[in-house]
Symmetry: C5
Subunit: 102 residues, 5 copies
């Protein structure tokens, strides 16, 4: 999994019938230092994530292993909302504050 | 999923029998700012997408989960046509105008 | 799928028993402008492609969906030979001439 | 597989029900010279790995082949803890010392 | 598939039970000109490859299609040992000499 920050939405009324009701969120991929890079992914939201939250997303066939994405043409899914993220004993991010710490 | 812009077509009369009738579209991969980058993908069109439209495409085994691509040697499929795309509350693209907005 | 140009062959007499009889071709990956880049892939040929031809190849589990690659340790397969490739209404390549056009 | 160094943890109380009880570790991807690069991955720990240890991790559908990750939305798993790593007859890393050697 | 050169080994006594008895080899990824790049992969050896040999390896779910890797958490497998490799009618590598030729 990688860490993404929810930054936006994609609306698509014409979509494969198996994707009806799916919510597409735009995630900026976050690097190991907590910086948003230039790469992004559009993921199905299986968790009810909100704008600005840090999430874990899974890609490939693993993105079809949640109940809502099972057997659907979906290659990226948000499968966890991050509470806290620590590297080397130092808290990099804590959800309650919504800010990175170093 | 990633966002692609439909820019062209590939015609291939000699193809695996399971690919008969599939339409191959050339997509330029669009970055998080709405810019077309240098990378591309050739995707099967499951949606009837038109030249110039922005679409979502799925890759890998997920590209075989639409009805028309089931069990076929296809690793990229257009599974949605984008109506609107928003980042940070700002509309980046709206289909009705066909133009990026910032 | 991506576009590759057939540039060479790999011979391997010692191979997994499921790969017996498979023909390995070396493909240079072609970019969206029709240029051969530095990256390559070794693909199983399911189409009888010839040296110098442009082909479509599929990767990952999708590379096992042709009849000859089914259930084999193969992660790239040529599943179509390209006749013509157009971007923005302009023909980039036509098989009969074997040359790029712009 | 690639080699990763365990550098941190991710805590996520809101996660897909199939991910209950999974432990998420942050791995820095280690290059062929034993250097930590800038890329990382968040992997499920199937081995009880500790901070600072070098591990092997598998990605994609292969990450779902351990007993604890079976059929779960997990695309990276630690499936081995490295004791020793040799290149060209030279020991690059030995767990007992926890240090790289060249 | 890509071409790798066998350059080393990884020893891991603590590993997922499904990986018992698997031999892990370190491969340097070889580019289209026969140069070893900086990237590597750790692959299960299904062929009895030796140090210094050039091999083909398959990744992803295809790496689980050999008899010894079936249903195991393995995302890279050596499935062929290269005898000869030709590009544009020129032999790039021949196993008997163990040297690149141009």
């Amino acid at each position: 999994m990688l860490i993404g920050k929810v930054v936006g939405t994609v609306v698509a009324s014409q979509k494969d019938e198996k994707m009806e009701g799916m919510k597409f969120l735009v995630l900026k991929v976050v690097d190991a230092e907590g910086r948003e890079g230039s790469s992004y992914v559009v993921a199905v939201d299986a968790m009810g994530a909100g704008l600005g939250e840090l999430v874990l997303y899974a890609t490939g066939s693993s993105a079809r292993q949640t109940t809502i994405t099972d057997k659907r043409p979906c290659d990226a899914v948000i499968m966890a909302i991050i509470d806290q993220w620590e590297v080397g004993g130092v808290v990099k991010y804590r959800k309650v504050t919504g800010e990175y710490q170093s």
